[in-house]
């Protein structure tokens, strides 16, 4: 298949950016006169061509009935444009969230569509990716998901998502865009890290024996504020009963297992190392262990829980 040269796409992109004037760079958009674009669809173009053929035939044979059919087709197309425009007007699309995704899986973005008045056959399109097609009643809200195009590890700006409807008859394309200002993170593909023990430790003070001893120890160390993701059996329920405050009991074993993940300590190329780190971050979070993360360009100090995990994973994606 013929592939468009890159500069064509770039040119297209820049023209689009210029025309759209950042009108669509928002997390919530209500489709109004200024943000709705209407053109006959490809089918509509072919339909118009047939109308033209009918017109030429009607003229050449001086046949009023064929002419009437040609005019009828054009009028129906104009009606379709008006109906199509009216169909999406007042629709609001709101960015909700994006799911966590690890390469090579592309993330899904979730949008909420709210129709003030009845709206037919609306869908989200991201280049060649499409969401399901929805029809909404008066004042109905529906959530729709669409895959984003980014599948390699990294951070991306949001794709420009097209909100499109071909209603009625499929003859027109009525569309708008939404381009949320969020950053899309695609985390590295998790790969099992070998020689976990030796490479985890950042300083040599903690030798293997030490770690084993301390892992078995159950001595109470301190209370820290509850972080989401911590196992409930570590919550100090006594405190909670007294003060309604969620605190986590930390034991000496946890504290001493001060795990430091270090990019430089791993082997393999950059991507491989990041993948291993990703695996470790997830595993340690699952085991409710605290750890720090050191990347050549960033250091994240010790922490635990889901929020910490997300920060680390985002750092890995950003690398």
């Amino acid at each position: 298949m013929f592939k468009r040269p890159a500069f064509v796409n770039q040119f297209r992109q820049s023209v689009f950016n210029k025309l759209l004037k950042n009108k669509h760079k928002t997390n919530e958009i209500e489709l109004q006169h200024k943000t709705i674009y209407v053109l006959p669809s490809k089918l509509g173009g072919q339909f118009l061509l047939i109308a033209l053929l009918n017109f030429v035939m009607g003229i050449n044979y001086q046949n009023n009935l064929i002419l009437a059919m040609a005019y009828l087709m054009v009028v129906v197309l104009v009606f379709a444009i008006l109906t199509g425009y009216k169909n999406v007007r007042g629709l609001s699309v709101k960015y909700q969230s994006i799911n966590e995704s690890y390469a090579p899986k592309a993330p899904f973005a979730r949008f909420q569509i709210h129709a003030r008045s009845h709206c037919e056959l609306i869908k989200l399109v991201n280049d060649n990716l499409e969401s399901e097609t929805l029809s909404l009643q008066n004042n109905e809200k529906k959530t729709v998901e669409i895959a984003l195009k980014c599948s390699e590890r990294g951070t991306y700006g949001f794709d420009r998502i097209k909100i499109i409807s071909h209603f009625p008859f499929g003859l027109v394309s009525v569309w708008s865009y939404i381009e949320p200002t969020e950053t899309v993170y695609v985390y590295p593909q998790p790969i099992t890290a070998e020689k976990l023990d030796t490479q985890l430790h950042d300083n040599d003070e903690h030798d293997v024996d030490n770690a084993q001893v301390k892992a078995g120890s159950d001595d109470f160390y301190q209370l820290t504020p509850f972080v989401q993701g911590t196992a409930l059996n570590k919550v100090s329920w006594k405190h909670y009963a007294k003060t309604q405050q969620l605190l986590t009991k930390e034991f000496t074993s946890d504290a001493s297992q001060e795990l430091a993940l270090n990019f430089n300590m791993l082997s393999g190329n950059n991507e491989h190392r990041l993948s291993q780190l990703c695996f470790l971050v997830n595993q340690l979070t699952d085991q409710q262990m605290a750890f720090s993360l050191t990347l050549p360009n960033k250091h994240i100090s010790k922490g635990q829980g889901i929020y910490h995990q997300t920060t680390c994973l985002q750092a890995l994606a950003e690398f």
Binding site: Q46, I50, N60, Q62, N63, N64, M69, L72, F169
Partner: protein, 646 residues
């Protein structure tokens, strides 16, 4: 997407379209088309599509069949058949929505081609229904709604678009044809260039309308009406033909201009026909831009567009002279044919020295010698058919009499020619005549006293034929009816059917007169009568203004709030509105039942009504009972009684 349903509907569309072309395209080929559609119906039932190789072989076979059965001589028919074939195959292979959409688009074109052949009311009605269904399929392809709803939407859209399209037809300036296309040849019977006595008898089987005549009340034509179409000047021993000399004469400048004052003016609305001869009485002339007035006072269509055409004619019967060349042209005869008739003619000519006398003696001869008028003449073979007719069978149709009489005039040395056209016509309204195929007639024009005189032996053999249509001829009525193809006309002796026939005829007349014959000239006169001399700038202004207005109107109509499809929503909203007026604020997050309870609490006197309303809500919403007319009415009554509750 409900593929079997779409497949079925599109297949049926193709079958009906092929059916509409039944009389025009070779029947075996139509059978193939219908077969393909039925194959599609059959395959569609099982979700199957033809596999590639089979489809290709089938397509190749059908293409060969197309060229063999339809032929390449009529390019328009070939083109239309090819389009239909291609669309049928596209449907056979269609699987995805996109492919079905392409089929729909092709149908839009195929349907229009039907109008190349038929523009009658009935066909228009059928094609319009197919259009609506096709739009419905197009809508249904991309929408989850039911096919019934799709049809409803399509019908509504077309109904709203139709007035605008009609307006555009009326007011958009009509363009002349960009280029000449070959006209489709129609299968209709009609006059032919050779008058073979038998060929006209065949026309008597057809009750197709040929043309209508609108007379002006103050300038009525004189009966009998001889509508001239063709002049045959060459006799080859058995048939009368149009000689090349006469054909070339058609392009001579018109012999003389008839002024409106010395002629009779009337209008003719001719039906579509593949031949380009038109119809007029006497020596005729027309100023219509689509009509060519020939040297011999006949009218011809310009170009080969076989559409309805309406033209004004001026006819007269003025004197003229023939030059020597023309005299020779109209007295030529082949040597040594029909010796008995020749002898007879010479004998009669010897008795009567002047032309008028010979003319009368011929009439007398046909009158006295027991000649009979018949639609089923005895077949004659071999040479000297005129002799066989005059001396043996003595039974014939107009063609026999005209052939014989013209021959006998020429033997006697008088310039004579056979003219074919139509005789009479059925009076429908005060000043309108309908002329049908079975009115086809042939007669003789003989030149003497500076004038062409009409000699029609039928006038003495069957005098009733002169003053009416063949259909009104008493004696021949039965045989005429037996001869006729199946049609309403055949049953016209039943009063109700005849009444229906006359009404349909009236409708068809209006359709033809107003819609089909609306052309550049009628448009110009419409503009002139509406806007006078301001039409040049007023017309585009009015077109644009009306379009703008109608599209705005459509947009506003579209913008009105759509009633909710969920049952009872509107009623509950009404109840809330009422409650708000009473100072009770329903809570948005509450269910309707909770809110009703709230209202009941605050307005205890409405309790009886609201409880019943509640009951209906429970039945419809929770027990899935239907929200039928009974319940609807009851709810309306309940809501109304709330307002009057004391």
């Amino acid at each position: 997407m409900n593929t079997p349903l779409i497949n079925t509907v599109l297949s049926l569309l193709f079958i009906v379209t092929s059916g509409l072309l039944f009389t025009e395209v070779a029947t075996p080929f139509l059978a193939i088309l219908a077969g393909l559609s039925f194959l599609n119906l059959f395959l569609g039932k099982f979700y199957k599509k033809l596999n590639g190789l089979v489809a290709n072989i089938l397509a190749a076979v059908c293409l060969v069949a197309l060229f063999v059965l339809v032929g390449v001589s009529d390019t328009v028919k070939l083109f239309v058949s090819m389009m239909l074939l291609a669309s049928s195959f596209k449907l056979l292979q269609a699987k995805t929505v996109k492919q079905y959409q392409t089929v729909c688009l092709l149908v839009f074109f195929n349907l229009s081609t039907v109008y190349l052949f038929h523009q009658g009311l009935f066909e228009t009605l059928v094609v319009s229904v197919l259009y609506i269904v096709n739009f419905a399929v197009l809508g249904y392809l991309t929408s989850p709604q039911s096919f019934k709803a799709a049809n409803k939407q399509s019908f509504k859209t077309i109904l709203l678009a139709l007035p605008i399209a009609a307006f555009l037809i009326l007011f958009l300036p009509k363009l002349p044809a960009f280029w000449q296309l070959p006209g489709p040849k129609l299968a209709k019977t009609g006059l032919s260039e050779q008058v073979n006595p038998f060929s006209i008898a065949k026309l008597a089987e057809s009750d197709d309308l040929v043309f209508r005549v609108e007379q002006q009340p103050e300038q009525a034509l004189q009966a009998p009406y001889y509508w001239r179409s063709l002049i045959h000047d060459e006799f080859n021993g058995s048939e009368w033909l149009i000689s090349d000399i006469l054909k070339s004469q058609q392009y001579n400048p018109i012999r003389r201009t008839i002024t409106q004052s010395n002629g009779v003016n009337y209008q003719v609305i001719a039906e579509p026909s593949s031949s380009n001869w038109l119809f007029a009485v006497g020596f005729a002339q027309s100023d219509n831009s689509d009509v060519h007035s020939t040297y011999n006072g006949l009218l011809k269509r310009k170009g080969n567009l076989n559409k309805n055409i309406k033209y004004a004619v001026t006819s007269s019967q003025a004197s003229l002279s023939l030059n020597e060349f023309e005299k020779r042209l109209y007295t030529r005869l082949p040597k040594a044919t029909n010796p008995q008739t020749t002898a007879l003619a010479k004998e009669l000519a010897a008795e009567h020295m002047n032309a008028q006398g010979y003319f009368n003696s011929l009439l007398d001869y046909f009158n006295q010698q027991q000649f009979a008028y018949t639609l089923t003449p005895t077949p004659m073979y071999g040479d000297n058919t005129l002799d066989q007719f005059v001396f043996d069978t003595k039974r014939g149709f107009c063609g026999h009499y005209a052939s014989t009489a013209a021959f006998m005039f020429r033997v006697a040395g008088y310039p004579a020619r056979v003219v074919s056209g139509y005789l009479g016509g059925e009076q429908t309204k005060a000043a309108t005549l309908n002329i049908y195929q079975y009115d086809a007639h042939a007669w003789v024009e003989v030149f003497f006293d500076e004038k062409w005189h009409i000699f029609d032996a039928t006038a003495v053999v069957a005098p009733e034929r002169l003053n009416g249509s063949l259909s009104q001829l008493g004696d021949l009525n039965e045989i005429f009816n037996d001869n006729l193809n199946f049609g309403l006309k055949r049953w016209s002796h039943f009063k109700a059917i005849n009444c229906l026939r006359i009404h349909l005829e009236e409708l068809d007349y209006k359709w033809t007169n107003w819609v089909l014959t609306f052309d550049q000239e009628s448009q110009q006169s419409l503009f002139d009568s509406l806007f006078g001399n301001k039409s040049a700038w007023l017309t585009p202004l009015i077109v644009l203004g009306t379009l703008l207005l109608s599209f705005t109107g459509y947009f506003l109509y579209n913008k009105r709030p759509i009633r909710s499809r969920e049952p009872l929503v509107d009623d509950i909203t009404k109840l809330y509105l009422w409650a708000k007026k009473q100072g009770i604020e329903p809570v948005d997050t509450n269910t309707p039942l909770q809110n009703i309870a709230l209202i009941k609490q605050q307005k205890p006197r409405t309790e009886a009504y609201l409880s019943e309303f509640e009951q209906i809500i429970i039945e419809v919403r929770y027990q899935q009972q239907s929200y039928n007319q009974n319940r609807k009415n009851r709810v309306r009554v309940l809501l109304n009684s709330l307002k009057t509750a004391k």
